[in-house]
Amino acid sequence: MHDSILTYARSRYLWIALALTLASLIAYIAYDPGGPPNGGTWLGYTLGTIGAALIVWLMLFGMRKRSYRNSPGTLRGWLSAHIYLGTSLILIVLLHSGFQFGWNIHTLAFVLMLVVIFSGFFGVYVYLRYPNLMTRNRDSATRVAMLDEVAEIDQNALALADGIDPKIHAVVLRSIQNTKLGGGVWTQLRARDGSDIALDSLHGALAERDKRTEMKTTEMPTMFAMVDFLAGRATDKQGEAMRSLIDLISRKKGLATKVARDMQYQAMMEIWLYIHVPLSFALLAALTAHIVSSFFYW
């Protein structure tokens, strides 16, 4: 049945990772290299080899994820192991280095590795938290269905506004044009849908109308401006239409916010991979340099 990647197979890989780190720790404490702890000792080489092998294996996850036929094990098992063994890498590599750091390629590889691992931690956090948020936000609708509804509301709002006043029509049209969902990474992550910008223009249009009737409106949000219009100057029929228009626009606002948030969640679940994956390749390069240089400049 359903269980999380952390508890997969009764957290089998957590225990394996714990055993691995514990064994490394005991070996590190028990082994006396006859000098300061160093990567060049017997234990240092062993830990280094384990660490390098782990890194290569962890990176194979990307290939495993994309090989869909006849691949060994379930992907979920692989991911569970990927998380736990990846975490154990921190200690194994620390022990391998014997806590020696400096401004060199070796420490660069270590730092890259930490960035990759911690971006992975962020990924785990996002994977555990965001699916629920996303489901709750969507409320059984699909994104396409929500977008369709937004488009439909736009059409209806335009038709309604057309019957009220050309100015209102222009304002609604502007608001539609300014509503932008999706876009660049930053827009997606900020969950802005752009309908806020439209409010300003709505406000401007109403302000101009108010100037003519010499009424003072300063910082009045659109919705209130419309209500004001409704109370003050409209005929009954216009008032009716205006009420429906306000309903529509607030409904659309709600929907647009939902879609924007949906995109935000989706973006959060993907954005970390843009650090995690490229840096893991950088790590692989740095690791290669580290190994080669270690042997050359013994």
Binding site: M1, D3, Y68, P131, M134, T135
Partner: protein
């Protein structure tokens, strides 16, 4: 004085046209009566450019009219050409409204246009589509009155009246309203007949003022106008008087009249009320009315080539000639391995003599039946099928015997002998085989596929009755008392009755006095209790299990409500005779009591959960009750990476059969649009080449002989089948990485319009990766374990695991 012909052929479809062509070729006096102004209306009405297949490929064509797989236009063109070349006497616009036996022999055919024709023989090839129902008022045949709409985008800026309130009318009206001024005319005051979505769409369009609607109205007259901008005028009878609309076009979508009424009016008898049943015809296609022959789909042969062969043969038979049926060599190839084979006729006679079940079917039905079936000759001890296999073929024993392993632990077996049949349980219930069957000595079997068997059951009442009787007896034996003899059970069997329930129907209510128990034969039930004013589902009862025994075992009142989860059939066993049986067989009482205890414990556990039953109710509301294996996604685990869809596409040549996002969600349980491998797959219902099968492990899949007709797509209530071109082959990972050829693994699917010339769209659906190994790719490729596949039997455990 009516014109007189020797042979009158009604309907110019493949069967009728072929018959007329043969009659013309032989120089016989004949007439081909066709209601429409063109030949072969059913094929004429296919979508433009549709590719028509010539299944079954193995059957040779025998007709003066050519037929090869090709586009609709090529085929119709060739037929028109043959009709002219052979000088077929076609009468268009002759819709036959009645066929009567004339005094002094022969038939009198009355046509809708007032003409009357007499003939010695009648060949009926009217198919099953029926006649399009027309407006039924003056002007119904004007050129701007049409009964079909191919492409709504063809028209713009017109005033169009759509008549009808069904799905077709609504879909047409809504599509036309984009570019035209549309008026819809509804005879009633609501659109209740339409699908929910269509009803909402039309009501919305009316409310928005996009479409004008006349309720409680009907057409009185359509006139063509010669002056003014509009082509015509329609007068409507409305509830408040007459209304006149100036129009450019009328589109009437009033459905079709089923041909059955007409056929029965001619004196032809149908075996039962089942709408799928076809009239019984002799091996020479003659119906029970002497001199009246039936060919093609109406006689139960829906494929074009079969109908054409029959058209040819029927003329030869009428002329008194013997023709070796086109299927003779095919049958011979099947029978030749039978021990003591002499001739096809002798082999057919032997089968019919040895198997009483088949005694009552007509020679033609038997040939057809054998053409679909296989002769199996098995060595003693060979396994015919194993328990828990998902096969659903039906076996009749022609020679020798078979051993049914009743109890695997003790290896208790019973023998079935010559003339008996087996395999009916899985056929009827759509579930796994309930026992292993091994071949005995000299075993010769006829193995019949599900579809052919179901067709036979639907068309021959005696076969159905025979199978049902045996089913009840065996179900009792296998479910309750394997040790009881047929005599001991006779009482219970006599009191047993088959009952049908629609989805949601109640078998019995909590608190009622119980007087019977139900053994589920088809479908499944839910057991629920009213707790705090709310119906709480406690368990799910699939076919093969029983309900209602508790009230017979001491408690006199029903402790829970039993409801059909889907359309179901049960064997209702009378309480009194069942109690007697229990008293006679003490071990049965013990067995029932131990099951009773288990069930009560499970129900109590379920009742204790705050929302356990809600998840089951939700799943059943999604039609999961008829599933055998359903994909569920836990949305609290799903990271929306769509790797499941990618994996599906990758393992199935580039087309995903799964839509992760679509579908309802309840308490984080999401039911995506993906095949559930139903017990009785809706997609199998109407597949002309019989291309949809169930694999031994339960996967419902579509074989390569799919002709792309789209019936399965339309029949699937869950929208999990779609039509697709075969995508181009993808490069391997390394090749793609290094050479950049084509799309990489998991990359966007191919361009849907990109396909080879002459290639047709075929149906694609989930096959649960039966050919890939290691289980369904969607589940295996889910990185977070959000996707699982389970069967309805696991729902209670699943619901408990989520609390």
């Amino acid at each position: 004085m009516a014109e007189r012909f020797k042979i009158a052929i009604v309907g110019s479809g493949p069967g009728g046209l072929s018959a007329a062509a043969r009659a013309a070729e032989r120089g016989e006096s004949h007439v081909l009566l066709e209601a429409e102004p063109h030949l072969s209306n059913t094929i004429f009405r296919y979508q433009k450019g549709k590719f028509v297949m010539d299944e079954p490929g193995i059957l040779p064509l025998r007709s003066p009219v050519p037929f090869k797989a090709g586009s609709r236009e090529t085929i119709l063109g060739a037929w028109d050409e043959s009709a002219t070349r052979l000088k077929i006497n076609v009468r268009h616009g002759h819709e036959v409204s009645a066929i009567k036996q004339a005094t002094g022999g022969g038939f009198e055919l009355k046509c809708g246009n007032g003409q009357s024709i007499t003939a010695d023989f009648v060949v009926m090839g009217i198919g099953l589509q029926g006649n399009i129902r027309k407006l039924g008022c003056p002007g119904e045949d004007l050129p701007f009155v049409q009964y079909q709409l191919d492409d709504p985008d063809e028209y713009s800026g017109e005033t169009i009246v759509v008549i009808g309130a069904g799905d077709a009318a609504i879909e047409n009206a809504v599509a036309l309203a984009k570019q035209n001024n549309v008026v819809i005319v509804n005879r009633k005051d609501e659109f209740a007949r339409a699908k929910k979505g269509n009803e909402q769409a039309i009501l919305k369009a009316i409310a928005d003022g996009v479409i004008e609607c006349y309720y409680n109205s009907g057409p009185e007259r359509v006139d063509a106008l010669s002056v003014g901008r509009k082509k015509g005028r329609m007068i409507l009878n409305t509830s408040s008087g007459k209304a006149q609309i100036l129009i450019d076009r009328v589109i009437a979508r009033l459905g079709a009249t089923a041909p059955r009424g007409f056929v029965e009016g001619c004196g032809v008898v149908f075996p039962n009320k089942d709408p799928a049943s076809v009239p019984a015809i002799s091996s020479q296609y003659e119906s029970n009315v002497k001199g009246l022959y039936i060919v093609g789909a109406l006689g139960g042969y829906p494929l074009i080539k079969q109908a054409m062969n029959q058209g040819y043969e029927v003329i030869e038979y009428i002329l008194g000639n013997k023709v070796e049926p086109a299927d003779e060599p095919l049958l011979k190839a099947k029978f030749v391995k039978m021990p003591g084979f002499r001739s096809v006729d002798e082999a057919l006679a032997r089968i019919q003599k040895n198997v009483p079940l088949l005694a009552s079917i007509t020679p033609l039905q038997l040939r057809e039946f054998m053409l679909d079936s296989d002769i199996r000759i098995l060595a003693p001890g060979e396994t015919i099928f194993a328990r828990n296999d998902y096969t659903n073929t039906f076996f009749s024993i022609v020679e020798g015997d078979v051993q049914v392993v009743v109890d695997e632990a003790t290896n208790k077996r019973i023998a079935l002998r010559r003339g008996e049949f087996f395999g009916e349980m899985s056929l009827i219930s759509g579930r796994r085989r309930s026992a292993t069957v091994l071949a005995g000595a000299n075993c010769v079997l006829v193995e019949t596929p599900r579809r052919s068997m179901n067709r036979l059951i639907a068309s021959v009442e005696a076969v159905k009755r025979h199978i049902d009787e045996v089913f009840i007896l065996r179900a009792l034996q296998s479910r309750f008392a394997p040790e009881a003899s047929a005599d001991q059970l006779a009482d219970v069997v006599a009191g047993a009755r088959l009952e049908r329930f629609k989805a949601g129907d109640v078998l019995f209510n909590e608190g009622e006095v119980g007087d019977c128990l139900h053994l589920v034969r088809v479908g499944s039930l839910t057991i629920s209790r009213n707790i705090g004013g709310k119906d709480v589902v406690l368990s799910y009862v699939p076919a093969g299990n029983y309900v209602g025994e508790m009230a017979l075992m001491g408690e006199s009142r029903r402790s829970a409500t039993a409801r059909a989860a889907i359309a179901s059939e049960t064997v209702r066993l009378d309480g009194e005779s069942f109690k007697k049986l229990v008293n006679r067989i003490p071990v049965l009482r013990l067995r029932l009591q131990s099951e009773y205890r288990q069930r009560t414990a499970a129900n109590l556990a379920m009742q204790a959960l705050p929302s356990g039953g809600d998840i089951i109710s939700f799943l059943l509301a999604q039609g999961a009750g008829e599933a055998t294996d359903i994909l569920l996604i836990d949305e609290s685990l799903c990271v929306r990476c769509d790797n499941c869809e990618k994996a599906c596409a990758e393992t199935h040549g580039g087309t995903s059969r799964l839509d992760r996002e679509a579908g309802p969600t309840f308490a984080n349980v999401h039911v995506p649009t993906s095949c559930r491998h139903c017990e009785h797959p809706h997609c199998m219902k109407d597949c002309p080449p019989d291309a949809i099968h169930r694999a031994p492990n339960g996967e419902v899949f579509i074989a390569d002989n799919c002709i792309g007709c789209g019936n399965c797509e339309r029949n699937c209530p869950y929208g999990v089948i779609h039509m697709s071109y075969k995508p181009p082959k993808k490069p391997g990972l390394i090749q793609w990485l290094l050479l950049g050829r084509g799309h990489g693994p998991g990359e966007a699917p191919h361009d849907a319009h990109d396909h080879a010339e002459g290639e047709i769209k075929k149906a694609v659906k989930c096959d649960m990766c039966k050919d890939v190994g290691g289980g369904p790719a969607c589940v295996r490729s889910c990185p977070t374990g959000a996707a699982i596949r389970i069967s309805p039997e696991e729902f209670p455990a699943y619901a408990q695991s989520r609390n």
